[in-house]
Amino acid sequence: MTWASLIHVVVSGLATGSIYALMALALVIIYNATRTLNFAQGEMLMVSTFIGWTAQRALGWPLAVCVVVAVVAAALMGWAIERLLIRRAVSATHWDVLIITLGLSLAGLLWTHDEFPFPSFFGTRPVALGPVRVAPVSLGIIGGSLALMTALAALFRWTRLGRAMRAVAQNQRAARLMGISVERVYATSWVLAAVVGAVAGVLVAPVVFLSSKMGLIVINGFTAAVVGGFGSMPGAVAGGMLLGVIENLAPLYLPSGIRYSVPFLVLIAILVVRPGGLLGRVERRKV
């Protein structure tokens, strides 16, 4: 194995990892606001990507417009799900919300059972960077994801909305007492998570193809979020990237028997050693 091809495998892993990271971020955004898992995140990604694809195929709109269509559709979908289903059950326990999203994700599987090619902004023919050859599509995925992550970081750090969201994540009651509309934060979180999912979907669809199976990527997103520490955004990014690279490097060095279990073994190991994940903190619940 030469260095050049090793670097290619790592870059490819980082590209996959960026998608995991985006999924993990979307999950963490909803978790921070509502303290629950969104099992339907993968199906939301799938449905919004399909809407973008339909705009491209049926209406012949340019790809850039279709991405916007996918994002807008995702935002609407996130808002509708929160308003119509989640909010009405919010008085119930977190498990209830989790089960509702599980139901949504099952329903989403109905969408199609076929696979379709999806156009990309980036080609797969390799470009040479010195001795290393990398595919523009990998760089595009990494670049696109990093841009979105930076935007999210800025949103959470410097905007009023971002501060409100962080406040709710920290202590809902205190946030409410400070005059923050917690309901608005809930809705925004769902919209934001749906949008992040849509971008991830558009980025990854040219690689894994469009199918209802692509929703299963949410499982890797969960793993990434847990590895990084559920609730921590930098943790989600780190977890996703780590998982992507490990998953890609493992087949190079491990016997075929255990290699596909590697991400899950890593997950279990990290949970045993650091129950809060890499960058997370173990929550102490008070009575």
């Binding site: 194995m1 091809s5 090793l6 290619h8 495998v9 490819s12 892993g13 996959t16 898992l37 289903l85 009405r88 059950a89 119930a92 977190h94 498990w95 989790l98 089960i99 509702i100 599980l102 139901g103 949504l104 099952l106 329903a107 599987l109 109905l110 059972h113 696979e115 090619p117 797969t124 023919r125 390799p126 050859r133 595919a135 599509v137 990998s138 690689v207 894994v208 193809f209 199976k213 990527i217 969960f222 793993t223 847990v226 559920f230 998953e247 890609n248 087949p251 190079l252 075929s256 028997g257 279990s261 899950f264 073994l265 997950l267 279990i268 949970l271 045993v272 929550e283 619940r285 009575v287």
Partner: protein, 675 residues
């Protein structure tokens, strides 16, 4: 209920047995999730451990009494559950759920890679032996599952009434409060985990005996989700609720077999509706449902779920009923749908509109198995015992087909033209192959590549299951005949999204020819990956069923120059009279559906069945059909070269070489044969 199996139709006896199995799982899961509030998405993994333990015991130590086998299954599962659970129990709710999810994946991976479990090939479970005198039939298994379920229910009822049960409930309400009240939290959580695993393990043992065939595909995360649905619908923290939930979900699952891919949607809606309008499930909605009510509901559901008795054997004066279990969801859904609904049914429409076969119209029934063997078994029994089909036509995939082989053979039902090429079906009296078997394909490919094209070094990228391994073994054998060896072989797990590492490793071995033994999605990814790293100095050769337009479409320009063995003429451009007729029929009946090789293969299967039935004449029975098919000589379909079927029941032994040029397969040779 005791005398019931003697009067009820066979299929419902089977269904009832399945309900009892699920009741035990639901009880186990409910003890964990409902009572101590630790949601698990890994119970399919526990079920798998129990099932494989029981199956292996029955295979290697057939003298062990069945009660002991079940007990062993429970204990082994509990031990594994504790070994996994103890370190994970200090994790909070959400994290524990994640860990159980991961556990489920690790278990299926372990089954796939262990030798003793036979990996993806699956494991046939012998019938339960009773005291060395005989084996249990459907009725015996019914009593076995019913008795076990009764014992387990009684045990659960007792557990929840004791101090332990109250401790579990205290944990659910608040761990901190429970701890403050002197409940040893860690000990009871561990206990709940162990008991839950034990229950599920016992259920796994029953599952193995009832279904009769195990493969890792059966125990995926969706099965775990099904279990969660059971306890949510029935009611968290309620023993009668578990029973009702398990019964409802099992019966619903079964009655939705005809609605195929709507199943997840319906289950999803049920989950959402339960949470919105009936949190606490049926148990809470009816306040306190009594045990008697729960049991009578189970009985009513089983009885109600159908009471049809059609004509014998599926042949009447005016009708022939055929059908099959196929993939309408899962990884091979597209193929399944095309081969049956747009393939077999297309020819059936042609025949019926032309007056049928000897005055009889053909009707088809299909159920969805999602590529899972246990579903295929249930569906096939339903088809045979309830829909009374005459013959099974065009089922798909090696694990589902293998799981039903023994049952069909026992009942002397023809299994016609399965869409799979593994040689396991060779030499069976009631089976006729549906495509050129993989070992014959491999022989043609290697002979052509080594003999005519003079290639010397070979590599393989194969799917890590029976399909991939069947080809791998055949390639190795055929290369050895020419004194050659495989330079490199890299496995790809089914459904994996990134093959860059495998491609990098194959490239390092620099073979002249690289075989791809994959499904369309990963196959196209492999081609794109090759394009990404600019690896041009190898000829990519796709194997068998992979050589089709679907995969070309996904790969785009990365597929240019790919070669392969094609089993079917180009459905879009071929001038052969049979293919033209196929296109015309597609245009007439399904004008929105693009012609493709899968539907062409199904269409051909329909044609071959019709030919056999026509030759069998007016006295159509299963035996006369077999005889008629065996005597087909030089049948000209206009699609494949003239075809003769002999005593070996292999309908096809040919293929031709193709290369992709400007997005289409171009034929490079005439028909190649492997006799």
């Amino acid at each position: 209920m005791a005398s019931w199996p003697w009067v009820a139709p066979r299929y419902f006896v089977f269904l009832a047995s399945l309900i009892f199995v699920n009741v035990v799982v639901a009880l186990g899961l409910n003890l964990l999730s409902g009572y101590t509030n630790q949601l698990s998405f890994g119970h399919a993994g526990f079920l798998a451990i129990g099932a494989y333990t029981a199956a292996l015991t029955a295979i290697h130590a057939p003298r062990v009494p069945v009660v002991l086998t079940l007990l062993l299954a429970g204990v082994v599962t509990a031990v594994v559950g504790l070994a996994f659970g103890v370190p994970c129990l200090r994790l909070g709710g959400l994290y524990l759920t994640m860990a159980t999810l991961a556990f489920g994946f690790v278990i299926t991976e372990a089954i796939l890679s262990l030798d003793i479990t036979h990996g993806a090939d699956g494991l046939r479970v012998p019938a339960v032996a009773v005291g060395g005198v005989g084996t249990l039939g459907d009725t015996g298994r019914y009593y076995l599952t019913a008795a076990t379920a009764a014992v387990m229910v009684a045990a659960a009822v007792n557990v929840v009434r004791t101090r332990t049960g109250r401790a579990f409930l205290a944990l659910r309400e608040s761990e901190i409060a429970a701890e403050a009240s002197g409940v040893p939290v860690a000990a009871y959580k561990t206990l709940a985990f162990g008991v839950s695993a034990f229950y599920t393990g016992v259920a796994g043992g029953l599952f193995a005996f009832v279904v009769g065939f195990l493969s890792p595909d059966a125990f995926d995360v969706f099965l775990s989700v099904d279990f969660v649905v059971m306890i949510i619908v029935g009611g968290l923290g309620s023993v009668p609720g578990s029973i009702v939930g398990a019964a409802i979900v099992t019966v619903l699952h079964d009655s939705l077999a005809a609605f195929q891919n709507y199943r997840p949607l319906i289950f999803g809606v049920i989950l959402i509706a339960c949470m919105r309008f009936m949190p606490g499930g049926i148990a809470a909605a009816t306040r306190r449902i009594s045990m008697r009510l729960a049991v009578s509901l189970v009985v009513a559901l089983v009885m109600l779920s159908g009471a049809t008795a059609a004509a014998q054997q599926g042949v009447t004066d005016t009708e022939i009923v055929i059908g099959g279990s196929n993939s309408f969801s899962g990884p091979l859904a597209y193929t399944g749908e095309q081969a049956t609904r747009y393939g077999v049914d297309l020819y059936v429409k042609v025949v019926n509109d032309a007056g049928g076969i000897n005055g009889r119209k053909i009707r088809t029934v299909y159920y969805d198995d999602g590529y899972k063997p246990q579903e295929a078994v249930a569906n096939t029994r339903k088809l045979l015992e309830q829909d009374k089909i005459f013959a099974v036509i065009a089922p798909q995939g090696t694990p589902p087909v293998m799981a039903t082989l023994d049952y069909l053979e026992e009942n002397r039902v023809p299994l016609l033209f399965p869409f799979q090429g593994s040689p396991v079906i060779r030499g069976k009296k009631y089976v006729f192959s549906g495509m050129t078997l993989y070992d014959r394909q491999s022989k043609m490919m290697i002979d052509y590549l080594v003999g005519q094209r003079k290639f010397k070094t070979f590599g393989v990228l194969y799917q890590d299951d029976d399909y991939g391994k069947a080809f791998l073994a055949a390639y190795e054998k055929d290369l050895a005949r020419h004194g050659l060896k495989l330079g490199a072989a890299e496995p790809v797990k089914r459904g994996v999204t990134d093959v860059s590492a495998q491609i990098a490793k194959l490239r390092a071995a620099s073979p002249q020819v690289t075989f791809l033994v994959l499904t369309p999605g990963p196959g196209a990814q492999a081609l794109k990956e090759r394009q990404k790293i600019g690896w041009t100095e190898t000829v990519m050769v796709s194997s068998g069923p992979l050589t089709d337009e679907k995969y070309l479409g996904l790969a785009g320009d990365a597929a240019e120059g790919v070669e392969g063995l094609s089993l079917w003429p180009d459905p879009l451009t071929s001038d052969l009279p049979g293919v033209k007729a196929y296109r015309a029929a597609m245009q007439k009946y399904f004008d929105k559906n693009e012609p493709n090789r899968y539907s062409l293969s199904g269409y051909f299967a329909g044609m071959l069945f019709a030919e056999g039935a026509k030759r069998a004449g007016r006295t159509l029975t299963r035996e006369t059909l077999i005889g008629a098919l065996e005597n087909i000589r030089n049948f000209d379909s206009g699609i494949l070269p003239p075809l003769s079927i002999g005593a070996d029941h292999e309908t096809q032994k040919q293929g031709f070489w193709v290369r992709v040029e400007q997005g289409r397969f171009k034929a490079l040779t005439d028909w190649l044969k492997a006799d």
